[in-house]
């Protein structure tokens, strides 16, 4: 069953990847596929690369867990390409730089800044890669009953072999194919689900009722140690053992345990989580952790996701496969439309999941809601078939994103941290993938959506100000960029880590620590500007900046 779903995706990825091997010659070939790719094709590749497990599985899961407001995430993900089109795409392509570290050096001629950029690529890369591998493991565990590590290792092997064989040329074919695949594998099951659930469930999906009582005997597989509050006495069976009577009050379920609740029992309450169907759940704003500040929470996520997109290293490098700045800009515009088409569907899975599988809110396995829905709706062969299709799509999502991100990470290591030629570059993805697998192995219980969003916050606080000011402001100095990036890195990655350790009570301080983008991005911008104004830009900085705005249709000047 699982083999049926995953093997074709893996084979197709490898075959299409192998097509790219023929033409490998120079480092530039490897990284940017010799720049011969049309805007529409490239936009499909950008979208294919961008639509990760967080989009395919995570958003629907967040809707079940957090409410309708989670639908703001894809809005930010898509708005990022509007910003890219407006501010970055064409000038960035004209720099000729292959990566952000290249851009930093070409624009500001500072080797130190280049190394810092490479370091930030590593931070963003692993914040993004680890949850992809984790999600691969989780879905295969759910659907196939294979051990978690099998899924993680399979994903790591396929991705790194494809990269080592074909590089970006392969990745561009693979990614464009992956976008078509993902759109079909996401849209068709969604339409089938909408038809198959019948009018009553469709009505419940848009008239949600708070999940207060189990309507049928329900088994809850807790993924994490979970503290909850019982409002009335209930008798449960734990891990298939005898009946255990429980008093009202706080209880803790161990991670990995299976609790069976009888029909009619009151649903336990979890602190800080919105119960599916409740009034807060229905509000279309993002009240992270029920902190009571939905407007701030929504704006913060929008800021991180929209501004972070332009700083994602695997997306930026993709624009260099366009022949020129104009084509890069068109690529960004087409991408907005393609992403919009895909993001019509997470809401379907999320709303149906909240009606049909609300117990996922207890178990914490909300990331599996997309894959779990078909069998819940139809236990027969159609359910099996659509589960297989969605598993294939989810696996395609891990592969696509991981391919691009591994390339960016390998590029940062072998180009910027340790310079080397093509031979080393081909081997680096293997090492980079191995590290991601090792980091993901103990991470079976990570929240995919949360980690990916933190990668966006880091990108928004570091690369976004560097690129925007570097492209549009001639007075930017290397020192200003350096200090601003360090401040951005500390106030995003550092503060989120500190917030995790500190574990504050829900409220504005906790919100600002967990979602720092709302203040860390402006802080990075202001620092960069203030420090730059105290120094003098190097001679030729103005011309280095203006060069990025000289369009391709300009008449070629005679050269001596």
């Amino acid at each position: 069953m699982i083999a049926l779903a995953v093997v074709p995706v893996v084979l197709a990825t490898l075959l299409i990847g192998a097509r790219g091997v023929a033409a490998m010659r120079t480092t530039s070939d490897f990284l940017v596929a010799s720049r011969r790719i049309s805007p529409a094709f490239n936009a499909a590749a950008v979208s294919g690369e961008y639509l990760s497990a967080a989009s395919f599985l995570g958003i629907a899961g967040l809707v079940v867990k957090g409410g309708v407001g989670a639908l703001w995430y894809p809005v930010g993900f898509t708005a990022g390409y509007l910003l890219m089109l407006t501010l970055v795409a064409a000038p960035m392509r004209r720099t000729g730089a292959l990566t952000v570290p290249d851009f930093a050096e070409a624009r500001l001629a500072s080797p130190v800044l280049r190394k810092l950029c490479a370091l930030v690529v590593l931070v963003i890369g692993y914040l993004y890669l680890v949850p992809q591998f984790t999600a691969a493991g989780q879905v295969l565990t759910l659907v196939g009953g294979v051990p978690y590590w099998v899924g993680v290792v399979v994903a790591g092997v396929v991705v790194s072999v494809t990269l080592a064989l074909g590089g970006m040329r392969a990745a561009t074919y693979v990614q464009a194919f992956q976008f078509a695949l993902k759109l079909v594998l996401f849209a068709v099951p969604a339409l089938w689900l909408l038809l198959a659930v019948g009018p009553e469930v469709r009505h419940q999906a848009v008239h949600p009722v708070e999940f207060t009582r189990f309507t049928a005997p329900t088994a809850v597989d807790f993924t994490l140690d979970t503290r909850f509050e019982l409002t009335e006495p209930v008798t449960v069976r734990i891990d298939g053992g005898g009946a255990v009577p429980l008093e009202p009050g706080p209880h803790t379920a161990e991670g990995g345990a299976r609790w069976e609740f009888p029909a009619g029992a009151a649903v336990p309450r979890i602190d800080g989580a919105a119960v599916p169907g409740s009034a807060t759940w229905q509000r279309p704003l993002l009240d992270a952790g029920s902190a009571g500040h939905p407007l701030l929470g929504t704006w913060s996520v929008l800021m991180a996701t929209a501004l972070g997109t332009m700083g994602l290293p695997h997306v930026l490098v993709r624009f260099h496969t366009s022949p020129d700045g104009r084509a890069a800009r068109r690529t960004a515009a087409i991408t907005v439309a393609l992403l919009g088409a895909f993001y019509l569907f997470p809401a379907v899975y999320g709303l149906l999941g909240a009606v049909l599988l609300p117990q996922l809110y207890l178990s914490g396995a909300t990331d599996t809601v997309v894959v779990a829905l078909p069998l819940r709706v139809d236990p027969g062969w159609p359910g099996d078939l659509f589960t297989a299709l969605l598993t294939a799509g989810a696996f395609a999502a891990f592969l696509a994103t991981s391919l691009g991100m591994l390339l960016a990470v390998s590029g940062a290591v072998s180009h910027d941290l340790v310079p080397a030629g093509l031979r080393r570059l081909r081997l680096t993805p293997l090492a980079a993938a191995a590290v991601a697998v090792l980091l993901a192995l103990p991470g079976a219980r990570l929240d995919v959506g949360a980690l990916v969003t933190s990668a966006f916050a880091v990108a928004a606080s570091t690369f976004c100000p560097l690129l925007v000011l570097g492209i549009w402001w001639r007075r930017l100095t290397a020192r200003g960029a350096l200090v601003g990036m360090v401040v951005g890195l500390v106030s995003s990655a550092g503060v989120m880590a500190a917030g995790l350790v500190a574990g504050l009570e829900p409220g504005i301080p906790a919100l600002l620590l967990a979602q720092p983008a709302l203040w860390s991005v402006p802080l990075a911008f202001v620092t960069m500007i203030a420090v730059s104004l105290r120094g003098n830009p190097p001679s030729g900085a103005a011309s280095a900046m203006l060069r990025l705005h000289l369009d391709e249709s300009a008449p070629a000047a005679p050269r001596p």
């Binding site: 530039s28 509007l82 848009v206 515009a333």
Partner: protein, 124 residues
Amino acid sequence: MTGRPGGKQPRRVAVTSPQTRVALGGRRGPPVRAPRLTPDELARAERVRAVQLRRAVTALLAGGAFLVGLPLLLQLVPALDDVRLFDVPVSWLAVAVLPWPVLTALAWWQLRRAERAEAEEDRP
């Protein structure tokens, strides 16, 4: 699997733009200097940048107003939760459906204006 059947492929050489050579210069060997822009090119780049910056700011203001304003509207007018279109609360449609056509239209509009800014340069 290895290129065109039968035919010998011409030897491939690295073709890099001056910009790319500059960008890659730091990697191996001494830094490469970009060829200087001619005064004509500098003047053109300066004009194009000014127009593009103005248009970019308008596009950013439009997009920003949408992304800041829509959550604000949903927060201030909770009654939108009770208005239904096709039996779906309007406030849900505002998040789940409305952003896609709006963002696509904004992207299309900005793309046209950015390309026109460059085309206008070529006309006397």
